[in-house]
């Protein structure tokens, strides 16, 4: 029997719990069940349960290619976010307070702007008649426009733009906890700025880099708007494929199966990544 002490937290979280039960858990279960249904062009969704959709997805090289492309894009995006985001986070930390507050607005502000607007900007920049091509041609670096729109490369560039604030936030949080006088101590002992960065700062930033990478990777793998706008019909990723099945082909069960596989693979990657971090950094997190 629950004592009065124990009822209170459940009463307080009750409304939220009910909301999530009805609007999150149940729909996810329903979607899972839906993935086992089959679909026919005239009959619509049929109330049978088979593995048919999964066999179709896992057996077709078309879908393999899509999944592979999605994860490759996500991986490359993550790598670039690390290469560009970590130094920038460090530079931000060392700025004077005034310059830093302005730079933070520049770096974090875009998070508040809809991803559609941000991606539109890239669509304009990357087009055949877009800014970048015009610039490169006028500088004489290329003779004909480089195709950047509707390529995986274009998607990566825009995704890096969208995701890098998350990397900076994660690294920033990790570095906030550090003791800045450790860097001064290293300097006084004769270390060059590069050495200070690689031997003192980077190890402390590692937990942030790892958790940031995970966030960037899973968000990139699940991204929809950016690949939809910059990939169009030609470059498909998992999210846009699900969209197609649901809103164009209307084969909901198949779309559901693809979605479930995406969720499963993202979860597996997250859990194994987390386990890796915990093993290596068990001591760092108090």
């Amino acid at each position: 029997m629950k004592s009065p002490q124990n009822m209170k937290p459940w009463l307080l979280s009750g409304p939220a719990f009910v909301l999530f039960l009805v609007l999150l858990l149940i729909p996810l279960v329903m979607t899972f069940m839906l993935s086992f249904n089959s679909f026919s062009f005239y009959g619509g969704i049929e109330d049978v349960y088979t593995f048919g959709n999964y066999i179709e997805v896992l057996g077709d090289s078309y879908f393999y290619e899509i999944f592979l492309r999605t994860f490759l894009i996500a991986l490359i995006t993550t790598v670039f976010c690390v290469l560009l985001g970590v130094p920038e986070a460090y530079i931000l930390l060392r700025m004077r307070p005034l310059a830093r507050s302005i730079m933070l607005l520049v770096v974090l502000g875009p998070l508040l702007i809809s991803v559609v607007v941000r991606t539109l900007g890239w669509a304009i920049l990357l087009g055949n008649n877009g800014v970048i091509n015009e610039l490169l041609q006028s500088l004489g670096l290329i003779t004909s426009p480089v195709k950047m729109l509707y390529t995986p490369g274009g998607i990566v560039v825009a995704l890096v733009h969208v995701m890098i604030p998350f990397m900076i936030i994660a690294v920033w949080a990790a570095l906030q906890r550090r003791d800045p006088s450790a860097e001064q101590a290293a300097e006084s002992l004769g270390a060059s700025p590069v050495k200070v960065f690689t031997r003192i700062v980077l190890p402390q930033a590692m937990p942030g880099i790892l958790s940031g990478s995970l966030i960037v990777f899973s968000l990139s793998a699940s991204a929809f708007a950016t690949p939809a706008i910059l990939g169009g019909r030609r470059v498909k990723v998992v999210s846009t494929t699900v969209y197609d099945e649901f809103l164009n082909t209307l084969n909901w069960p198949l779309g559901a199966a693809i979605a479930v596989l995406l969720l499963a693979s993202v979860l597996v990657i997250m859990l194994s990544w987390n386990r890796l971090i915990e093993k290596r950094y068990a001591g760092v997190f108090e």
Binding site: L12, F17, L23, S114, V116, V117, L125, L263, V266
Partner: protein
């Protein structure tokens, strides 16, 4: 203190260019007098801003987004505040699981959420309705509210409440006069972040709207994928300006880094 050297500042400048570039381009294109997306614009015309007024769909969509944002942020805040109080203060079994549940929308791919909501709403025959939109958005934005309110709750010195009790305050008085004012910054910050997230939301919304309840991001999205006229640029510019104004306001009274990164100092 080690300051940034020349190379660091150069890197920073290039980085700024990278971050601001697309937005500058969008704003620039919106002033074009021509009928296509050209940058830099050959002249400065407000033609495409005037065109917004001729396009009621965009204005309607903006209203929907605004109402939706306010409604879902409010719903989310109302359920998240008591949950944060429970999770942040009480020790009970299932606390970690409950917290993970409320933060889970962040880890589930947005398309998965989209189709799950679509499936549920069709079964409940709420598909395309405003209520359906509010409820689904509330789920997506609750993690943001919860995180910010939770950090306020956890960061509060509990002995302040004990002091109030020792001076004779009842539990309700303590909650009303002491606890609430002290966690209010977290609540307000959470609401604002939730509103912004709902306003900008695309992926999930695209699955559960219908022509009468389209939001601004969805309207923009369909326009972009179908046409290439500068109207999308001018609408986007308005969105950018609105957001920048909001951002400066937030920074002035709350701190943008505090909103997005939590209390880290």
């Amino acid at each position: 203190m080690i300051r940034n050297g020349r190379y660091s500042l150069l890197f920073n400048a290039l980085f700024t260019l990278f971050m601001a570039g697309p937005l500058v381009v969008v704003i620039g294109v919106s002033f074009t007098p021509t009928g296509y997306l050209e940058f830099p614009p050959s002249g400065l015309s407000l033609r495409w801003f005037a065109a917004i007024l001729d396009n009621p769909d965009f204005i309607d969509a903006a209203w929907v987004s605004l109402k939706l944002g306010i409604a879902s942020a409010t719903v989310s805040t109302i359920v998240a505040v008591p949950a944060a109080l429970a999770i942040g203060r009480e020790k009970f079994s299932g606390r970690e699981a409950l917290q993970a549940l409320f933060l889970s929308p962040l880890t589930v791919p947005t398309v998965v959420l989209g189709i799950a909501f679509l499936r549920l709403l069709s079964v409940l025959e709420l598909n395309g309705t405003f209520v359906g939109l509010v409820l689904c958005h509330a789920i997506i934005i609750t993690p943001f509210v919860l995180r910010l309110v939770l950090s306020s709750v956890v960061g509060m010195d509990r002995s302040i409440e004990k002091a109030a009790i020792s001076l004779g305050a009842s539990n309700w008085t303590v909650f009303r006069r002491i606890t609430m004012p002290l966690i209010m910054p977290g609540i307000v910050g959470g609401w604002v972040l939730a509103f912004i997230t709902s306003f900008d939301e695309l992926t999930v919304t695209v699955f559960i709207v219908n022509p009468s309840t389209t939001t601004l991001p969805v309207r923009l999205f369909s326009h972009i994928t179908q046409t290439t006229d500068p109207l999308i640029a001018s609408v986007s510019t308005v969105v950018i300006l609105f957001t920048v104004a909001l951002m400066l306001l937030i920074n002035r009274f709350y701190g943008l880094d505090r909103l997005l990164m939590g209390e880290t100092k």
